[in-house]
């Protein structure tokens, strides 16, 4: 069909942009999941704007890592777990998969706990909200194909706008925010370092790497359009971290000056309402619901992709359930287990989430090392291997996370001083 008129250039550019965005934005948005929001709001309330520069730093790290994963997906058409199995063999794969499964069940469970918490803020029982959320997401994933599942996930990403609106309702002083965000300050206290680690751990994640690469491979991205993919990844990471920053600003602008400390995202939402009005409190909760739902879809998917790749089973959202039974069974299994954990009274949720976080922390540097090695392998990447700059930054980041992880684990298992 011939068009009678042409859209103006800038409008066409915007249309083009929306056809490009996808895996990158989804992964980065899912990084701001329920535990993520909790971490940001707690840190914002405790350390104020001084914490913002960490986010700037993490953005660089996330772009670096996610771009490697996206590039591997586009070049090889395979997932991270595919490459790990083919390049490093069964033992490494089995170790990574065991850790990933444990860690991701724990994190999925945290998302359902997030859904439950938001429901309870509005006085709705978790026995209603959690199964409803599980059913909704399950149906979408089981019945949809890649294209419409991606659309649903992108719509869920929009929930992050609630934090942007919240911040504009609060009207913070932008001058101070900008100044603080660009001035590195460091506090050598264990709580502060722990908070920094928690923020890194919730932003740069093994499941994020697995998900991004698998979905780019699943989507079948053409290498000629790799620039578009890279744009999606960079935009996604930057956007995701801007949202993180907005969450920090929300609590830093309201709770920090009053010296109110919070222990969870729900507490932060409640504390917001006397200070910034009930509207911002509601917005804050809506954002968390959207983020939890997004992560509830992405996390089990990431695990499922990885497990099927590692052991060679059919996988992919474009396959009907009949053709990829293992893929969908693992997905449903993770969902059901996580939901049960949240719903059965008396299960020590906090301990389970702590455990899954530790497993995640152990896995992250290992996965980063594997990814760096794969992205530098000429046999796999051809002319698309890492540039020197990416390698230097990548190994530095891995080293930093490795040292920090050990510190974190030691701190976690030593009795609190």
């Amino acid at each position: 069909m011939k068009r009678q008129f042409k859209f103006p250039f800038w409008l066409r550019r915007i249309f083009l942009f929306f056809t490009i965005i996808g895996p990158g934005l989804i992964t980065a948005s899912a990084d701001n999941d329920a535990p993520g929001i909790a971490t940001y709001s707690i840190s914002g309330a405790k350390y104020g704007y001084g914490f913002l520069w960490i986010i700037v730093l993490i953005t660089v790290g996330e772009v670096l890592v996610q771009e490697m994963a996206a590039r591997m997906g586009a070049v090889t058409g395979k997932g991270t777990a595919d490459l790990i199995r083919e390049r490093f063999g069964v033992r490494t794969s089995a170790f990574a998969m065991a850790c990933l499964l444990l860690a991701n069940i724990g994190t999925t469970l945290a998302q359902f706990a997030g859904v439950a918490a938001v429901g309870e803020l509005f006085g709705i029982s978790r026995f209603l909200t959690v199964p409803l959320a599980g059913l909704l997401i399950g149906l979408i994933i089981l019945r949809g194909n890649y294209k419409n599942i991606e659309t649903v996930l992108l719509i869920l990403c929009l929930s992050a706008f609630s934090y942007v609106i919240t911040v504009f309702v609060i009207k913070p002083d932008w001058g101070i925010i900008l100044k603080e965000a660009l001035t590195p300050t460091i506090k050598l206290e264990s709580d502060y370092l722990l908070a920094v680690l928690a923020v890194i751990g919730t932003t740069i994640t093994p499941w994020g790497i697995f998900y991004l690469q698998a979905s780019i491979a699943d989507k079948g991205t053409d290498l000629k359009d790799y620039n578009h993919t890279r744009l999606d990844v960079v935009f996604g990471s930057v956007w995701g971290n801007i949202i993180s920053a907005f969450i920090i600003i929300t609590t830093a602008a309201t709770l920090y000056p009053k010296g109110i400390l919070v222990n969870s995202a729900e507490e932060a939402a409640m504390a917001l309402s006397p200070l910034a009005g009930s509207f911002s409190s509601i917005l804050f909760s809506v954002g968390m619901l959207g983020a939890s739902l997004l992560a509830v879809s992405v996390l089990p998917l990431s695990t499922t992709y990885a497990m099927c790749e590692a052991f060679g089973f059919e996988r992919g959202l474009n396959r009907p359930v009949k053709e990829a039974p293992v893929f969908y069974s693992i997905f449903v299994g993770i969902m059901v287990i996580s939901m049960l954990f949240v719903l059965i009274p008396g299960i020590p949720l906090f301990r389970i989430m702590l455990l899954s976080q530790s497993v995640n922390a152990i896995l992250l540097p290992v996965i980063l090392l594997l990814v760096l090695s794969l992205a530098n392998d000429r046999n796999i990447m051809g002319e698309w291997t890492n540039k020197r700059f990416a390698n230097v930054l990548g190994y530095a980041l891995t080293g930093l996370i490795f040292v920090a992880t050990i510190a974190l684990l030691v701190g976690m298992f030593l009795p609190a001083a």
């Binding site: 083919e86 069964v90 089973f313 059919e314």
Partner: protein, 421 residues
């Protein structure tokens, strides 16, 4: 059976017990499609120019890798361009089916010896292979045992794995479902082309019943080779599952010691039947007959006969059941009725209608050719075998067993098969 995973990192000893190096990878000649021969061992930690060793100089691979000659006389292998590196290019790769659907990964590769040479025979795609790689094979077996299941090793013949294009996944040349459901005779046909090590390997993953069906269709060499490789207990179990006449044929070809041992391991009932059959010369009617046939007391009416057949074990084991034989209390043959006539007759009709003194029959010692002649002459599907002194009916010679004498086995396979089995 040898697996690639058991060879990687193994020390390689020369003829004088010196360590040459450790196996890093193994090369096969990729131009050979069905069972590529090993062309060289790729070593690490070996002196320069000794990093590739011609497979010709391998003396053994298992339990330890030893070479025929001393290290100084080793001729380095020069790649000819058709080699395929197993660890680097095949192990852990994805296998897809004919439609490109992902099935499983190459968990391990199976290597077998035939004479002086070693061959790549199959792809181990089972969980067992995965556990072996993780060093947890024993754990897997004990778990399987607690669930009362056999830990199965599922080996896909290499022949079915299409050649590796650059960087593509391995493609099966038959669909997965076909591979599993392949009729036993087809598997047997494939086996006849493979060496005994391979057949053995292939069949170890089969349930006893399927293995029995497959062996019945196999050549004598394969039957002997496969059974001689099985654990005697298992071999006896498989023989029990076979038709007694087939089992007897196989046992007759074995040396007396082995066959006697297998017979004692078999269940008494089955062993008894086979022993009787073994007593007759191989070329006699007794040698080719089967002792499982459908019969009913001749005093019954049609309804009683049908009820009797439904619950009779012998009738159930009758391969074809074209005829139902009418016997008296001393198991003497009184008459015969085709199953068709029996089923279509009124229920209250007595069987006496079909009593006949002059039924075509043979004795166990009647030569096979004569039985074949009778079958052909009277257009019969089966011929009763009757003991001459006691007049007891002891078995039947079925048309396909009788025709075996006239038509060589190889011909028979090309004919349409009579049973739907």
């Amino acid at each position: 059976m040898i697996y690639l995973s058991q060879l990687i990192d193994q020390k390689v000893w020369d003829g004088f017990g010196h360590v040459v190096g450790k196996i890093d990878d193994i090369m096969v000649n990729a131009t050979e499609k069905s069972a590529p021969p090993l062309s060289a061992l790729v070593l690490k930690g070996a002196p320069e120019n000794k990093t590739m060793i011609d497979a010709q100089s391998i003396a053994s691979l298992w339990p330890s890798v030893t070479l025929k000659t001393d290290i100084t006389k080793l001729v380095p292998y020069t790649p000819k361009g058709h080699e395929l590196l197993l660890k680097q290019r095949v192990l852990d790769q994805q296998i897809v089916d004919t439609e490109g659907k992902r099935l499983v990964r190459v968990n391990d590769l199976q290597i077998a010896r035939k004479g002086e040479q070693f061959f790549l025979t199959g792809v181990d795609a089972s969980a067992n292979g995965l556990l072996r790689r993780l060093g947890l094979e024993k754990v897997g077996k004990s778990i399987a045992r607690t669930f009362k299941k056999e830990a199965k090793t599922h080996v896909i013949p290499w022949e079915f794995v299409a050649s590796i294009e650059h960087d593509d996944p391995l493609r099966l040349s038959v669909s997965q479902s076909r591979l599993v459901q392949m009729p036993p005779a087809d598997i047997a046909a494939i086996l006849d082309n493979l060496d005994s090590h391979t057949s053995k390997a292939l069949l170890q993953g089969f349930p006893n019943e399927e293995l029995a069906d497959t062996l019945e269709q196999s050549s004598q060499e394969v039957q002997q080779a496969v059974l001689s490789h099985l654990h005697p207990e298992r071999a006896a179990d498989v023989l029990e599952e076979m038709d007694p006449d087939e089992a007897a044929d196989i046992l007759a070809d074995m040396d007396d010691q082995t066959s006697e041992r297998l017979l004692t391991l078999m269940e008494d009932d089955d062993a008894e039947e086979v022993r009787t059959l073994l007593g007759y010369p191989e070329t006699s009617s007794g040698g080719i007959m089967t002792t499982e046939f459908a019969w009913v007391p001749y005093t019954y009416n049609v309804e009683q006969a049908l009820t009797h057949l439904r619950s009779s074990e012998e009738a159930l084991e009758d391969e074809f059941m074209y005829y139902v034989y009418l016997l008296d209390e001393q198991e003497r043959l009184k008459g015969v009725v085709s199953l068709r006539d029996l089923v279509t007759a009124p229920l209250d009709q007595p069987l006496s209608k079909w009593i006949d003194d002059d039924i075509a029959q043979v004795t166990p010692l009647t030569p096979q050719e004569e039985a074949a002649y009778l079958v052909a002459k009277y257009d019969l599907m089966a011929l009763p075998v009757v003991e001459p002194e006691s007049k007891k009916m002891i078995g039947i010679v079925t048309v396909d067993d009788a025709l075996d004498t006239v038509l060589p086995t190889a011909w028979k396979k090309k004919l349409p098969r009579f049973s739907g089995k």
